[in-house]
Amino acid sequence: MNILNILKKKPRKTFMRYTSITPEEKKSMLKVVGVDRVEKLFETIPEKVRLKDTLDIPNAASETEIIDYFKTMGEKNVSADRWDCFLGAGAYNHFIPTTVDSIISRAEFYTCYTPYQPELSQGTLQAIFEFQTLICQLTGMEIANASLYDGSSALAEAVLMAQRLTKKSKFFVPDSLHPHYQKVLETYVSNLDIQLKTLPLTSTGMLDLDYLQKTLNDEYAGVVIQSPNFFGVIENIGEVTQLCKEMGAMTIVVVTEAVSLGLLKPPGELGADVVVGEGQSLGMPLGFGGPNLGFFATQDQYKRQMPGRLVGQTVDTDGQRGFVLTLSTREQHIRREKATSNICTNQGLCALICAIFLSTLGKRGIRELAEQNLKKAFYLKELIGDSIEFSGDIFNEMVVRCNQDPIAINTKLLDEGILGGLPLGRYFPDRSDQMLVCVTEQNHARNIQHLATALTATNK
């Protein structure tokens, strides 16, 4: 639909659909209030700042027009429901069981507020308590919060917490961290007493442990490590936590592809102090990058320094189990400028999605899902052979060196129904011949083969 149709429409006198007061009732209510016109209620707004003109906003559009409009917008996009998508890099195209949308479409879950009144919010509270537990199990950590905005701000919050705990200010941040996470982290710490030091990587694609060993000293509050890292390579978390422990630095592990935790040793088991990451893989559609789900897990001893909401178990006056938001003295609404974070609204419904997703898959499903990803990525890797940039083990993403311009390859693939990988030149000028490719259980074998052919083709 041409948006002009919306603009052209005749104005509608009243807008009753989302309000429920009739003109008659309005009159009687005004009478009770003691004014004759509703405008009178706005008289505390000084005349001078009152709006004289009508807003330059279109007139009300009908339901049909609106649906047509958004459908048209959808058609102007390429999307993973019609193209086979090999883009990853922090947002992953995984299967979403039908149960998820069916449950979160219950108004009981999606229209309610943060569960400040626990007696009327036990459904949400119990679900978040389950979510916290599932995240602990998946990461191998002791406690987890009720969610943060996304993986990147979760990382920033982890760095802030490590600074508070260690009272130190230097952090190592690897070159293999998702570049957007790097940027968000920089924004969050920009005016605080925190310094970020880069940590190089080796030809395996893993961070340079020798360099870390040589340079890490007791001035460091922590080391950030992403695994699988931005280039898809699985890091040796255990070695890093070892080094950190020796120097009194905290290890902050970032996970952008949470499905990997279904198969890989959990960071908690490898000694991580904080595990943060992005939960989008666990039930959320790509959604153009949001809403997604920051998760934050750590050790029990840090619970009073954690950011974000926490649901805890308690009992009611009859001794019955119930759940409440707890340890809120960490939070802004109690502690104000001394809070552990400014976060208030978080990603509650996404935490619920994640809990439904993980409960649907369960112990066997999460494993099978992770294995499928590994196997399919390996299948592509084998097809590509020598052009894989890094030698380290990968989960479901890999960097491929192309003989042709990656952007041109993608353009060609698009016509074959394939949404190609991420040309790395966008972020790393020295990698402009490379593409970051992701393979999930959603990609079809024949398209993986297609992709491999396109990626390894030589200039004609």
Partner: protein, 493 residues
């Protein structure tokens, strides 16, 4: 007809307690390649043996688990949810529908701009309308919630002052402000100076004038403030702050009171955030996702977070080349799905509709105020807009507190109002009806409140022992803090 009745509801254990080995609810695509054993792919030492204690249940149980739990929640579709400051309005079904259109929902954030023109148009259009609604010059939709909007705004203010060669040291915040305001100021590297309120519930202008120095970066003002009172000295305030080279940040959480009546841009505001999950009807989701666009005047535009969307002839582009930007706040573009819903809402309501919503929201709040002011103490007689704050001071001598009144409302079939906020009002009961509900619903709420007040005088123990009609009675919050149980653990055998 009475509003409520009691009935039997179903209990439900934790998902882990429902689990038994061998059940499953999943169905994955079948592997369409040759099946290589994973040990052949990677050193098995990298693998975990399993996700210990992960649930195993059937789809049937999964569905009944969440369905039963859902029935323990009060929600907007059930009835009035007068949580002050939260704008618990109706969340249109149409929003939900359009946000799930596959061509919108299944787009990858890193696909080429040229392949995302539909999404970029959505973002661009929403940017334009928010600018018009607020009278501001530029906007970034990235902040994923109100508090991240605040953080962005204050970081922008700071970046501006840095460009003026002095970041300055303080941020002024009225004592009635929401907790996120001071917290965001701290995270931006500022110290907070609290400004008292005056006898009318407004910011004390003399105190403001006194504290406003050249070491103050900005004032964070909520307007209308958390008492629902419009800061009518806004011009004066603006003058005081700007005279010292300071800027004004407006917390726009209460924007539902103002649409079509006034615009922050016309009252001297330099930067503000809106909560799409309040004014613009995106659902609260039991605690998010929300969206807190940051919106500013030209002078702050260079500092906006990146990316924003701009239009270049017939193409929409992501602006990421802006050297003075405070940078990114989100891995991608914030909670895009909420932007889709907010745009849907604006197009549905249209210019007249948006104004009418604010009018009805303000009328409803004033109606409740008038009908309840003989029964509950009104701390300020100042006119209010979209919400009204009472206290428990009339009931307290009988042993009934705000908490009790709130819990008792549950038994009358209502969600309680916000309690004990703003902090400056002792025993605050903050009621925001929004524009959504019918007069019958408002009247029924009013009569419940009056009944509770009566009970407070006559049978106070009915109130102090409430609720009895919920899933649980009052919960022991102290025990939750003293002996925190933050996750389920298997029983030790």
């Amino acid at each position: 007809m009475t509003r409520t009745f009691t009935s039997t509801s179903l209990e439900e254990p934790l998902i882990f307690e429902r689990s038994s080995p061998g059940k499953s609810a999943y169905s994955l695509p079948s592997l369409d390649i040759e099946d290589t054993p994973i040990e052949k792919i990677m050193d098995p030492d990298k693998f975990r043996s399993e996700v210990k204690d992960f649930p195993e249940i059937s789809e049937v149980e999964l569905v009944s688990h969440y369905t039963r739990m859902s029935t323990w929640n009060y929600h907007v579709d059930l009835g009035m949810y007068p949580l002050g400051s939260c704008t618990m309005k109706y969340n249109p079904k149409l929003n939900e529908r359009v946000s799930r259109i596959p061509g919108i929902a299944f787009t990858h954030p890193l696909q080429d701009e040229q392949l995302s023109q539909g999404n970029l148009e959505i973002l661009f259009r929403l940017q334009e309308y928010l600018k018009e609604l607020t009278g501001m010059d530029n906007v970034c939709l990235q902040p994923a919630g109100g508090s991240q909007g605040e953080l962005s705004g204050i970081l922008m203010v700071r970046a501006y002052h840095v460009d003026q060669k002095n970041p300055r040291r303080f941020v002024l915040i009225p004592d009635s402000a929401h907790g996120t305001n001071p917290a965001s100021a701290t995270m931006s590297g500022y110290e907070v100076i609290s400004i008292p309120s005056d006898g009318q519930g407004r910011i004390d202008i003399h105190a403001l004038a006194e504290k406003m120095t050249e070491d103050v970066s900005c004032l964070m003002l909520t307007n209308p403030n958390t008492m629902g009172i419009f800061e009518s000295d806004i011009e004066k305030i603006s003058q005081i702050v700007h005279a010292k080279g300071g800027l004004i940040y407006m917390d726009g959480a209460n924007f539902n009171a103002l649409m079509g009546y006034t615009r922050p841009g016309d009252m001297g505001i330099d930067v503000l955030h809106l909560n799409l999950h309040k004014t613009f009807s995106t659902p609260h989701g039991g605690g998010g996702p929300g969206s807190g666009p940051v919106i500013c005047k030209e002078v702050l535009a260079p500092y906006l977070p990146l990316p924003t969307v701009w239009q270049d002839e017939n193409t929409y582009r992501l602006n990421s080349d802006c050297p003075n930007s405070i940078g990114r706040l989100h891995a991608f573009y914030g909670n895009f799905g909420m932007a889709v819903r907010a745009l849907c809402y604006i197009l549905t309501c249209g210019r007249e509709g948006l104004k009418e919503l604010s009018e009805i929201a303000v009328l409803n709040a004033n109606y409740i105020r008038r009908r309840l002011e003989d029964h509950y103490d009104l701390p300020y007689s100042t006119p209010t807009l979209h919400e009204v704050v009472f206290t428990d001071s009339l009931q307290k001598p009988h042993g009934v507190t705000t908490l009790d009144i709130a819990k008792r409302l549950i038994d009358f079939g209502f969600h309680p109002p916000t309690t004990y906020f703003p902090l400056i009002v002792r025993g605050a009961l903050m009621i925001e009806p929004t524009e959504s509900y019918s007069k019958e619903e408002l009247d029924s709420f009013i009569s419940a409140m009056i009944d509770i007040s009566q009970e407070s005088f006559e049978t106070p123990e009915e109130v102090t022992t409430a609720p009895s009609g919920a899933k649980v009675t009052r919960l022991d919050e102290v025990q939750a803090i003293r002996h925190p149980i933050l996750r389920w653990s298997p029983k030790e055998e």
